[in-house]
Amino acid sequence: MALIKVEDLFFRYPQAKAPVLDGLSVAFEQGERVAILAPNAAGKTTLARWLAGLYPDGGLVAERGHVSMDGKPWPQWSAAERAAAVQFVGQVPSQQLTGCAFTVYEEIAFGPCNLALPEGEVRARVEQALAVCNLKHLAKRDPFTLSGGEQQRLSIAAALAMQPRVLILDEPTSNLDPESRDDFIAQLDALPAGLTVIVFEVALRPSLGLARRFMLLDEGRIVVDGTPETVLAHPRCIETLGMTAVARAAFEIREAGRWPEGLALPLTLAVAEQSFREAARA
């Protein structure tokens, strides 16, 4: 059974004419690392909220279809069960802070404390989250005095401390410096296998190191679902999100008629050198 399953989800905000999600179906397995790329206004944050179980909420309900985890639709989950199963980190980290913690340490402890875990367990979880998100040196700081990137790391740490089975991140690395981002990815790799990570991104490059399965969300539907190479080479992806820098350079050489036919455009620096050398030999 799929871990999270979206079935024919059709959703519009009250009073909106057009649906945001237009009969969307997709499934995620346990332990997958997925990047969902999406142009602006494609339904990115809305889908993220559905996957995280934050919708349905009050009047915000689907006209058709539903999202389930472990085969059980979201309305059948209690808030506490859901919070321990799936965590969502939004785009604006400062809006995610509880506001009732005086230190970074307490902010991370807030969630596990609310699960009524024993103190030793809470402390162990906080220590682990501090390490994963490169926050140990900031543990005693007031969350509201952190920089934007540090707050982003803090909201991810607070989510990880819940030890969810699914972590959903809306543009997780956009505000991180490269060292923090690489640390974060390396630390995610070091976590027990089985954590499902779904990231939503507008930028192409950050997800390449993080996810193995890519999708393009466009106009409320998943239009392509596959390897990074397939998705980044999809015409609609290029049209709405552009190309990576090395792919763009190779593309311009191809436009000039000098890129060998049948040689794929490289996506990353790691493969680009060889492709360019091959093109030079041709």
Binding site: G148, G149, E150, N175, T240, A245, V246, A249
Partner: protein, 268 residues
């Protein structure tokens, strides 16, 4: 246009955030401020726009010392788009949000409407004028915040992570606006983590490391120095690296890389 002279700063009760900061920015320059999380980038922006005052040293914007100038006066000389645009938007319609600044400058009637129409065109939101800004997607909200600042035509623009969350279309708009502003003599200052964007659009890079200036160089000179990019903790853009691997002359952008490669392999 903008002058920072031996500035030090610490938040109350805290360690020094910025030490011995000195630089000036001329009209038409696009300066990118880069560095690790917590290096002091956003704090420096708050010193430039007068939201914070230096502990020592002076900041002069358009001839005004920020220490003697109220923030609401300074705002006509230096416009800021903050990291989280939803925190600076406060009108119920995109039109009114754009109108707010120029109205404070005394613009009214047809002149005001013309200014609003011009800005809406530049940010590509003419059709959204009557919508609530917070009903728009994140990128459009960022463009509204940018538009509300552009509408005041300040001689200095401060943009904190303006490229964040923009797709290809919105990014093209932002880049066109940055280029037009620089062309028109505006001094544009960006805080930015996206080094591809910096490589494409900035003429000069100011790198902060632990609250001090680690580098202040033309963009190409900065990115081709391993020592300085490492010190600042920033990523070297792929075209710069690839040109080096391939033994091509230094470049910043994909287009420049393609051009150098084609020049180098003219006769196959």
């Amino acid at each position: 246009m903008l002058d920072v002279a031996s500035v030090d700063f610490a938040y109350p009760g805290g360690n020094p955030v910025l030490s011995d900061i000195a630089f000036s920015v001329r009209r038409g320059e696009v300066l990118a401020i880069v560095g690790r999380n917590g290096a002091g980038k956003s704090t420096l922006l708050r010193l430039l726009n007068g939201l914070r005052q230096p502990a020592s040293g002076t900041v002069t914007v358009d001839g005004l010392n920020t220490a003697d100038t109220p923030v609401h006066v300074l705002a006509h000389h230096i416009g800021t788009v903050f990291q989280a645009p939803e925190q600076q938007i406060f009108n119920a319609k995109v039109h009114d949000e754009i109108a707010f600044g120029p109205r404070q400058q005394g613009l009214t009637g047809a002149a005001l409407e013309a200014r609003i129409a011009e800005v809406l065109g530049r940010i590509g939101l003419a059709d959204a004028a009557q919508l609530h800004p917070l009903d728009l997607d994140a990128a459009a909200r960022r463009l509204v915040a940018l538009g509300s600042v552009l509408a005041m035509k300040p001689p200095v623009l401060l943009l904190d992570e303006p490229q964040r969350g923009l797709d290809a279309n919105a990014m093209a708009r932002l880049e066109a606006i940055v280029a037009e502003e620089a062309e028109a003599g505006t001094c544009v200052i960006l805080v930015c983590h996206d080094m591809d964007f910096v490589a494409r659009r900035a003429s000069r890079v100011l790198a902060l490391a632990q609250g001090r200036i680690a580098a202040d160089l033309p963009t190409l000179d900065f990115f081709t120095s391993d020592e300085l990019t490492r010190k600042a903790g920033v990523e070297v853009p792929d075209p710069v690296e690839l040109a080096r691997f391939l033994g091509l002359p230094p470049v910043l952008t994909p287009s420049a890389l393609a051009a150098k490669w084609l020049a180098d392999h003219r006769s196959a």
